[in-house]
């Protein structure tokens, strides 16, 4: 468990800031924190201007206004369809999951009392008793069965349909017990159930114009693309929280406008602030920032089944050509950790720290390109604002290429339709992957031979079999070793270049207390509403 140390002072705070500004790497920063007696936060999280967090006595009451970065008429209260941060925030406020991940990435029980299995294939979920929905109905196994089975129905359009497919049987045992049988052993099921999409809704719900959940807040108003207003649930089943009487959530897509709204005091939380705005926030007593490095990354994908990626030397060259330090320092303004071309970030307990990032070496890159016979050929790199920072990253790579006579052309394409038209399709393109709680989800989603999002068309039988084996392995040490090896395989063999794990920076009013980082994403893994309070 991570705790912000009580001897944390404003001076340390300033020192951290200073270091970040000078471009200190994440690692250096952590080293410094260690040396000063601070345990590194498991999620790599850190509250800047941490003074406010010290007075950690929750205060009840008050009304919070928070702004996310995207919202549209596609906003939904249906957890299965949730796709934007806005949706997650709302779902976390109105519903509950069976399990959730804490700041350290450990599975904690929420609606479930226990999630247990002997063989990692047949699972039994025991529910807490006496939990009620907003409409007064008591939570039962039927609700859980309904909520989970929905994901298997294609007409629902669930985002986690492919993950849910492994649940071959979901059945009610008794009023408070549900049995889940998997197609193959998977020790990660408790973690999988903490995904935002697996929120529990009342049996038979089809109308999502209102939210009827068990959550800490009751939905008072919901206007898609505009805002939602929530009031405190007086019958919330948890002993602690929520502290806020009400909170309003909406999106201000323009970064600058979001920051300005925070600075002018119109909102108390501005999610996901562009690091470019940091200088605006510096020296403002009324705001502080919460930085989370959860494992979100923007990566450069080179398809191995198409030219030019079919030439191994091209892929190798590109790995040397990506100036990770410049991407981390200039593009991401230091709010990132340098990545080592594999998807499991330091926030994850299975992260392989021995795998060193590839050093920027244009000469080696040139050697490989020459060997591939591609020096001077125009090669388009497809980037888009849809994959955050990808355009700037592409510029950095393009610039490095032009120094050695490699003609890489940045092709910026519209955000709209990027995921269906370019991502996974173009020979060289950028992608953006949100943090996933387990290596298994990442691997099976992105790197197994039949992965739906196999970004570089990486195919390895050895990798596939290791994945299945690790999934069912209940021996933690063996599992870790296998995951480390698989990370190495990805870094060296796949065509996905992951230059950095991007930190999420939320800017909040200094009156806001209780905000901590979470490996599931910014804003406390989107679940901040029930944990935060407003100091007077």
């Amino acid at each position: 468990m991570t705790k912000i140390p009580t001897n944390w002072t404003g001076r340390d705070d300033a020192m951290v800031e200073q270091m970040i500004r000078r471009g200190a790497s994440r690692r250096e920063l952590l080293k410094m924190l260690m040396s000063s007696g601070v345990a590194a936060a498991a999620g790599g999280s850190l509250l800047m201007r941490a003074g406010a967090a010290v007075a950690a006595t929750p205060v009840s009451g008050g009304s919070l206004k928070a702004a996310g970065w995207s919202s549209s008429t596609a906003d939904t209260l249906d957890p299965a369809k949730a796709s934007l941060s806005t949706d997650y925030v709302r779902c976390c406020a109105f519903y509950n999951r069976l399990t959730f991940l804490d700041e350290a990435g450990q599975v904690q029980m929420e609606l479930a009392d226990s999630v247990a299995s002997d063989d990692a294939q047949t699972w039994e979920v025991k529910l807490k008793s006496g939990v009620t929905f907003h409409d007064g109905k008591t939570l039962s196994a039927d609700d859980v069965v309904f909520s989970l089975k929905r994901h298997l129905d294609e007409a629902v359009g669930s985002k986690v349909n492919s993950i849910a497919k492994q649940m071959t049987e979901i059945s009610k045992v008794d009023d408070l017990t549900v049995k889940i049988v998997l197609s193959a052993p998977n020790a990660d099921l408790p973690t999988i159930l903490s995904l935002h999409h697996f929120m529990i809704i009342a049996d038979g719900t089809t109308d999502f114009s209102k939210a009827n959940g068990t959550g800490a807040f009751i939905c008072e108003a919901f206007e898609p693309g505009v805002r939602s207003v929530a009031v405190k649930n007086p019958n919330y089943f948890k002993a602690e929280g929520p502290y806020l009487d009400s909170f309003e959530f909406f999106a201000i897509p323009d970064n600058n406008a979001r920051v300005n709204a925070l600075l002018s005091g119109d909102i108390q939380l501005a999610a996901s602030v562009n690091p470019r705005s940091m200088r605006m926030l510096e020296g403002q007593d009324s705001v502080m920032t919460s930085v989370t490095t959860a494992g979100n990354y923007t990566n450069l994908n080179i398809r191995l089944d198409l030219e030019p990626g079919a030439k191994a030397d091209f892929v190798e060259g590109m790995k040397y050509l990506v100036n990770r330090e410049m991407i981390q320092k200039s593009v991401l303004r230091g709010f990132a950790e340098i990545g080592n071309d594999q998807p499991v970030s330091a926030a994850n307990r299975y992260h392989n720290p021995n795998l060193a990032p590839r050093a920027f070496d244009p000469e080696k890159a040139k050697y490989h390109f020459e060997k591939a016979g591609l020096l001077g050929t125009e090669i388009p790199m497809v980037a888009s604002d849809a994959a955050s920072s990808s355009v700037d990253m592409a510029t950095v790579v393009q610039q490095a290429g032009s120094q050695i006579g490699m003609n890489l052309k940045v092709e910026r394409v519209p955000s709209d339709g990027y995921w269906s038209n370019y991502w996974l399709k173009a020979p060289v393109h950028f992608g953006n992957i949100n943090p996933r709680p387990t290596p298994d989800i990442l691997f099976s989603l992105l790197y197994s031979s039949d992965a739906p999002w196999n970004e570089s068309q990486y195919k390895s039988e050895k990798f596939d079999s290791m994945m299945v084996e690790a999934r069912g392995a209940l021996d933690e040490e063996k599992r870790t070793a296998m995951y480390w090896e698989m990370q190495e395989m990805i870094a060296n063999e796949a065509g996905t270049i992951i230059p950095a794990y991007i930190s999420n920076v939320d800017a909040v009013s200094s009156k806001l207390g209780g905000l901590k980082a979470n490996p599931l994403g910014g804003m406390m893994g989107y679940a901040f509403a029930e944990y935060v309070w407003l100091n007077a």
Binding site: G23, R276, R279, V391, T395, Q399, V410, R412
Partner: protein, 288 residues
């Protein structure tokens, strides 16, 4: 920006100095700035001290220094170089779009004025209907459909401004068309192409040129508005509007990265306005 702009060039200067096509000093300053940017657009890439995409400074939103004359941008790239490169795109795209829009609009407008009848009616209605769609939204749809490249930009901008040019040219051409010299030519048996090119066109050229200038200004601004929506030239290059847009976070810091591109845009648009408002009346009002 405006969905539709029917430009009535105000007659500010009843007095003209000197005979013939001479400008007053305000017009001269305007012309000088326009020419300056035109030259920069052509030779800019050779003047730029750095490639537009090169990150030259670890710092961002850097101040004006002797190495970076206009500071650095959000990535630490040299703004001076980027503005020099951007001139080519801003001036070039706006010029191409305005030329295309006006050429097409003027030709169609003249044909509609001469042909009259249902051709005129249908074309006017169609373009009117098109005018009803806000231009930025139109731009947005285009981005969504075909992405962003220079030809797409030019065509989109031209499409946005063509109906206005059409309307303007048609109104002028209708006036000229009723003049006796056109009737004389028609009575002589001349065909439509002759009427349009030889009789009408020379007499609407002056106001059309003035209109072209004003449209140019709006196109420069809409171009910057489109970059707000993500339709712009491909990185690492950027037009001035995009430079303002991508560095707008620097505004509150007073970063030169946002101020200089804004000044560049304003200097171009204001000078075009100055130039047009002070055009010798001989050119502006020849058909009146």
């Amino acid at each position: 920006m405006m969905a539709e702009v029917t430009t009535t060039t105000a007659k500010d200067t009843p007095k003209r100095k000197g005979p013939g096509y001479r400008f007053n000093w305000v017009g001269k300053i305007g012309l000088a700035i326009i020419l300056f940017w035109a030259v920069v657009a052509v030779v800019g890439p050779w003047l730029a001290p750095h490639p537009p995409g090169e990150i030259v400074d670890w710092d961002y939103f850097g101040p004006v220094t002797k190495d970076f004359w206009m500071g650095t941008d959000y990535l630490g790239r040299d703004i001076f170089s980027r503005i020099l490169m951007g001139a080519r795109y801003t001036v070039g795209i706006a010029l191409a779009a305005v030329t295309l829009a006006c050429t097409l609009g003027v030709i169609l407008g003249m044909v509609a004025a001469v042909a009259g009848g249902w051709f005129d009616m249908i074309l006017s209605r169609l373009l009117d209907a098109f005018n009803g769609i806000p231009s930025l939204l139109f731009g947005l749809v285009v981005v969504a459909a075909v992405g962003s490249s220079i030809p797409v930009l030019v065509l989109t901008l031209a499409a946005i401004y063509m109906p206005g040019a059409y309307r303007f040219a048609r109104a002028l051409a209708v006036n000229v068309n009723t003049m006796d010299f056109v009737t004389v030519a028609r009575a002589r048996g001349e065909g439509t192409p002759y009427l349009i090119l030889r009789e009408i066109f020379p007499n609407i050229l002056g106001p059309v040129l003035a209109d072209l200038g004003l449209r140019f200004v709006f196109i420069v601004l809409v171009l910057s508005g489109l970059s707000f929506l993500g339709l712009g030239v491909q990185p690492p290059n950027a037009d001035w509007g995009a430079l303002v847009r991508e560095n707008i976070e620097g505004l509150s810091l007073g970063a030169p990265a946002v101020i200089f591109p804004s000044v560049a845009i304003a200097s171009l648009t204001i000078s075009v306005n100055m130039f047009i408002d002070n055009l010798p009346t001989k050119i502006r009002d020849r058909s009146e």
